[in-house]
Amino acid sequence: MTALTLTNINKSFGSVEVLKDINLTVDDGEFVVFVGPSGCGKSTLLRVIAGLEDATSGTVSIGGDVVNNVPPAKRGIAMVFQSYALYPHLSVRDNMALGLKQEKQPKSVIDERVGKAVQMLDLNDYIDRRPSDLSGGQRQRVAIGRAIVREPKLFLFDEPLSNLDAALRMNTRIEIAELHRTLSASMIYVTHDQTEAMTLADKIVVLRDGRVEQVGSPMELYNNPANRFVAGFLGSPAMNFLKSAPINLPKNGTLGVRPEHLKLVKKGRIKGHVTHVERLGGDTNLLVSTEQKEALTVRLFGQDSTAIGANIELDFDDQRAFAFDADNNRISH
């Protein structure tokens, strides 16, 4: 069964069209991640799904029922806001418990669920503080906890981890994945983080300027991007695009090669010199300027000693390269 169906959703703020003809299905228990540039309408789409914003046209159905006229609370959703939106007058515990109390859950259930969330989010020490006495990351965890305790059918997360530190982010990410598995709830998740998108998603939705560019599993999008935008948006560092490519391209076409698919070789089709080296510990990125003055990134596994200024030659496996036409659409081989 489908957990959520969006049909021809449009949304304008005044004369600004923010969402344009969005169609999307989320299956029961599916984990869908929205990605897209800042301002492309991700939050707005979440708000339309939540019922906090009315679509200008189109229908939203949750669990098979059209919910255009159903108030947010009755949609069986929970939402984590990008701005946290904590209740400033309530302690951490009460922030989480309020929704449950509203549902008239017995105290034991409330205590248990809140206790579990607190545990999971490592908030034990702060349980009686108010939001104003918490750090940014702590606030964000409270906001996540507030959604978790409600155990809804559909979770809406708006960049829930953006303020967490790496360790906590990883933990929480794994917890969310686990939550997803155990609750078998559907989840819609907005993020800017490649790792989150790739690891969590069953399905990634790439949005751009209020339009859906492509929908698919992470590997599908990674390996088969429909167009240059998607190809460039997924993957970090981003895919390299070359105009003056060593292979056959249509007029004004572009060649796309992912940084990890470029190999340092003695003799290669691409020549250039290193302009900058980013050492990340686990891997190293070389920023290269080609003979044609195009910029490239090369991703090397492990720590590399190539120095800035070094002249290098690069090559790649044609099978792993992508070709885009003048309209930036992918040319399939």
Binding site: G51, E53, D54, N69, P71, P72, Q82, S83, Y84, G136
Partner: protein
């Protein structure tokens, strides 16, 4: 209207309650206004009836416009009200900001000192005030009234505004500090615009007693050229005979300018004025 979020029933109930209360609020005003257009006999024979061809009369308005320089009074009232409000808001907001923003010795005491004024009716200080005005030669000037009303309005303004100013995000003020804004500019450029709803509220609160005050105009500025509207309308209330037509007309006329001022200020009651400031 947002279909998903708005329960039709609730919105009916809300409108119902508001309409009911609006009727309660307006009914007496309605009585006053319709009666100001009637002859004296009709006012008292059938106070609830609308003016009809028989009972319609502009006699009250004619009397009002004939007696005294109504437009001058009007202008005086405006100057006094707007002038006082300006100083109340400016000085009051400044003091409120100092109290809300800075921790300094005597902060609480200063707050209490500035609040003392709302605890005693200023009227009992009339003689001393009048003496002061006589000595400074301010008697029978609009400045005298402006000064008195400013002093009278300050305590309340400070009290309310400091409460609202505490709600302005610290990060925001700090951002201003780092941007090199002086404390003065932080006040004028950041805090003042953000407490506009509170300023409007204070303005409205203060405008009413100032506009309607009879006492101080009567005592410190009774001269013809500085008479206020309220004082001017008072002419129609006699010892034994009251010209009800004129009183009702004058009062109906006097509602309009305050109403206009109110509308001006209440525009500042803007939803979510701080939204988007902080995450």
């Amino acid at each position: 209207m947002n279909a998903a979020r708005q329960n039709r029933l609730n919105s009916f109930a809300a409108h119902g309650a508001l309409i009911l209360y609006t009727l309660i609020a307006l009914f007496p005003v309605f009585v006053i206004v319709i009666n100001s257009f009637k002859t004296r006999k009709a006012i008292f024979r059938e106070p609830l009836a609308l003016p009809n061809s028989d009972s319609f009369s502009l006699i009250g308005y004619e009397t009002v416009l004939k007696q005294g320089d109504f437009f001058l009074y009007f202008q005086n009232s405006m100057i006094v009200t707007v002038g006082s409000l300006f100083f109340i808001l400016l000085f009051g907001a400044m003091a409120a900001f100092a109290l809300a923003e800075y921790r300094f010795k005597g902060n609480t005491l200063m707050g209490l000192y500035l609040a003392l004024g709302i605890m005693i009716p200023i009227r009992i200080g009339t003689v001393a005030i009048l003496e002061m005005m006589v000595q400074t030669g301010l008697v029978n000037t609009l400045w005298a009234l402006i000064l008195v009303y400013t002093a009278q309005g300050l305590p309340l303004a400070v009290f309310i505004l400091s409460e609202f100013m505490r709600q302005v995000s610290d990060d925001l003020k700090n951002a201003g500090r780092i941007d090199g804004l002086s404390e003065y500019r932080i006040f004028f450029r950041l805090v003042l615009p953000l407490v506009r709803p509170a300023m409007a509220t204070v303005a409205v609160f203060n405008m009413i007693p100032i506009w309607n005050d009879l006492w101080f105009p009567l005592i410190i500025a009774p001269a013809e050229e500085v008479k206020t509207l309220t004082l001017g309308s008072q002419v129609f209330i006699g010892q034994f005979v009251t010209d009800w037509n004129a009183v009702l007309s004058a009062l109906s006329l006097a509602i309009l300018p305050v109403m206009a001022l109110y509308v001006v200020f209440s525009r500042q009651l803007i939803r979510g004025i701080t939204s988007g400031a902080v995450k």
